[in-house]
């Protein structure tokens, strides 16, 4: 399908995707409620910082950090790996392939369609965070806000592409849910989701800062709460989008080869 016709179809796809999300609002609510990790971690780290700040974080800093983490998580979530695994296992992938629309585009739209509803949830949390911790940590420079928006997109893309790549493995192994579990475990620990990346021991911090996980959650959150200057922000943005590029190439190659195998075995 041509790029132009894909673009023309996008509004309808989004509208339908959005309507689907609304129809399954109970599940949406559950999905949001399931993002409890930042809140649990907030309680934990607040307890740690009870007597004295941990690094540069005092209790208020942790509140700001983890509420920001909650918001960023809502806005950068994707679940393609499970979709792909399910569709490969049940054979329904064939139906998606028959449509004159690249499957990755349809997956992307479906995953993105959840974001508006998640924003509805994220908004009050953002307000709450502002009330509780004040706006002092937020960036002042409008350019930094532009970088933040790009970092959100980049974070979503990394999450989506990682999901897509691992999901594509299902074309070989039948179900790649376990591999996704491994990625998730690493993601939770090294992205800044459970532990602010700054608080890792210096020995391993260097490595963690380069891994893609950090750019999924940690980087956008740092933009909101760490007071980075524009140069540092742009440098990190570049790092993030290098990962986006690498993952895009990787997923494309995997997908192409996976499809060949899928077609060869009749799906």
């Amino acid at each position: 399908m041509s790029v132009r016709s894909t673009v023309r179809a996008l509004p309808t796809l989004f509208r339908v995707g959005f309507a689907e999300m609304v129809a399954y609002r109970a599940e949406m609510l559950v999905w949001v409620l399931a993002t409890t990790m930042p809140l649990i971690m907030l309680a934990l780290w607040s307890a740690v910082a009870h007597d004295a700040p941990v690094g540069r974080f005092d209790q208020a800093d942790f509140v700001a950090y983890f509420l920001a983490t909650f918001i960023v998580r809502q806005l950068t979530g994707a679940w393609v790996a499970w979709q792909l695994s399910f569709e490969v296992r049940t054979g329904t992938l064939a139906m998606r392939l028959l449509r004159p629309l690249h499957p990755m585009v349809s997956y992307a739209v479906e995953n993105l369609a959840a974001i508006p509803l998640r924003m509805v949830v994220a908004f009050p949390v953002a307000m709450l965070a502002l009330i509780l911790t004040g706006a002092s940590r937020l960036p002042r420079d409008p350019l930094l806000w532009a970088v933040f928006l790009l970092s959100l997109l980049g974070g979503w893309l990394i999450t989506f592409l990682a999901n897509a790549g691992i999901g594509t493995l299902a074309l070989w192994t039948g179900s790649s849910v376990k591999v996704m579990d491994v990625w998730l475990a690493l993601f939770m620990v090294f992205s800044g989701y459970l532990i602010p990346v700054e608080l890792f021991p210096p020995a391993i911090r260097g490595t963690i800062e380069v891994l893609p996980f950090r750019y999924q959650i940690g980087f956008p959150v740092e933009l909101l709460t760490r007071g980075l200057d524009l140069r540092a922000a742009l440098r990190l943005l570049l790092g993030q989008w290098i990962w986006v590029g690498l993952l895009t190439l990787g997923v494309r190659a995997l997908w192409r080869r996976g499809l060949q195998r899928f077609a060869a075995y009749g799906g």
Binding site: R15, F18, A19, V22, A23, R25
Partner: protein
């Protein structure tokens, strides 16, 4: 007088669904306010079924057949009305009641997927508390009647649809139920397998005296198995009686199917009856019921007949006609109101 096995009085089953109109604004609106509509799946049905009877539930899709069946099995609570199966109230789901019935659903199975059917049999035996000697006897009988052979020892997922259905039937009869509810049991099966299943069900009913209630879209199933039919359309009873009588009432014309030695003159055919279809295999003529004998004589006299049979109108046509009539009747009532 045969004992009443199933008794249904003024059964109603209504449930509420929420409409979801298309469009973005409506989708947003439905976040906060939903439009409830009451669907009357079953709206006042009464009938009785005697022990050992074979009854077919017929009706268009969404008519309420499966709903009625599920109410009889105790899976659904009626909104109102009285239902009794062998003296039990199905909704109470008493153990004694559940041990007397079985439900077979086409396209859905209770067989454990990754294990051989024999494991499901063993599980059901434990659940229904079937004594070992009786279990063995039943199993032998079922294996023989269904020609299961070695199928029961292969994992269910490796069996074909027809083989699975046979094993599914066996699993559902381990406890020798007295009432069989069959919901589209032959759906998706090839013709020869349909015949096998049909023959088995009939043999089982004759051998054990079990009461049978069947829903099916395949008229052949109904014609072969059910001397009595209950027609349900839009939740209401449309007809309850002998199948033959229904056919006579709706499509009293008979069909004359001729195989000819040589192509016949059209005029000559028209003189015998209305031509319904004509192809290389033969000619089908429609004739009024009273005129069967006359038509047969004329056909034999004027046409090069090689072979001749007198048939009822195909059941499908009878059914379509019945549904169209009831829809028209309802349409008239709506217009008048």
């Amino acid at each position: 007088m045969a004992q009443t096995m199933v008794s249904v009085q003024a059964l109603r089953k209504h449930y509420t669904v929420h409409k979801r109109p298309p469009g973005l604004r409506a989708a947003l609106g439905s976040l906060f306010r939903r439009v409830p509509t009451v669907v009357k799946a079953v709206d006042g049905i009464s009938f009785q079924i005697a022990r050992g009877e074979r009854v077919g539930f017929l009706g268009p899709n969404g008519a309420g057949k499966t709903t009625t069946l599920k109410v009889l099995a105790g899976l659904l609570h009626p909104s109102s009305g009285e239902v009794r199966v062998d003296g039990h109230v199905p909704q109470r789901r008493e153990d004694a009641f559940l041990k007397k019935i079985t439900l077979v659903m086409g396209q859905k199975q209770q067989l454990l997927w990754d294990l051989p059917p024999s494991e499901t049999f063993a599980l059901n035996r434990a659940i229904y508390e079937v004594p070992e000697p009786e279990f063995q006897r039943t199993l032998t009988e079922l294996t023989e009647l269904l020609e299961l052979g070695d199928l029961v020892n292969k994992p269910t997922r490796t069996l074909s649809l027809g083989e699975r259905m046979k094993c599914e039937l066996a699993a559902s009869l381990i406890h020798r139920p007295q009432v069989l509810f069959l919901d589209e049991p032959t759906i998706g099966l090839d013709v020869s397998m349909q015949v096998v299943i049909r023959d088995f069900i009939k043999a089982y009913n004759e051998r054990t005296g079990a009461t049978l209630i069947l829903t099916s879209h395949y008229m052949d199933d109904v014609a072969a198995l059910c001397p009595r039919v209950v027609v349900i359309d839009k939740g209401v009873l449309s007809y309850d009686g002998a199948l033959d009588e229904l056919v006579r009432r709706i499509r009293p014309e008979k069909r004359l199917v001729l195989r000819l030695d040589a192509p016949a003159d059209r005029a000559a055919l028209d003189a015998v009856g209305r031509v319904v279809s004509s192809d290389a295999a033969g000619v089908t003529l429609q004739i009024p019921q009273e005129g069967v004998n006359a038509a047969v004589s004329r056909a034999l006299a004027t046409l090069p007949v090689h072979d001749l049979t007198v048939e009822n109108a195909p059941l499908e046509e009878v059914m379509s006609e019945l549904f169209a009539q009831s829809r028209a009747a309802r349409g008239e009532v709506e217009d008048a109101a």
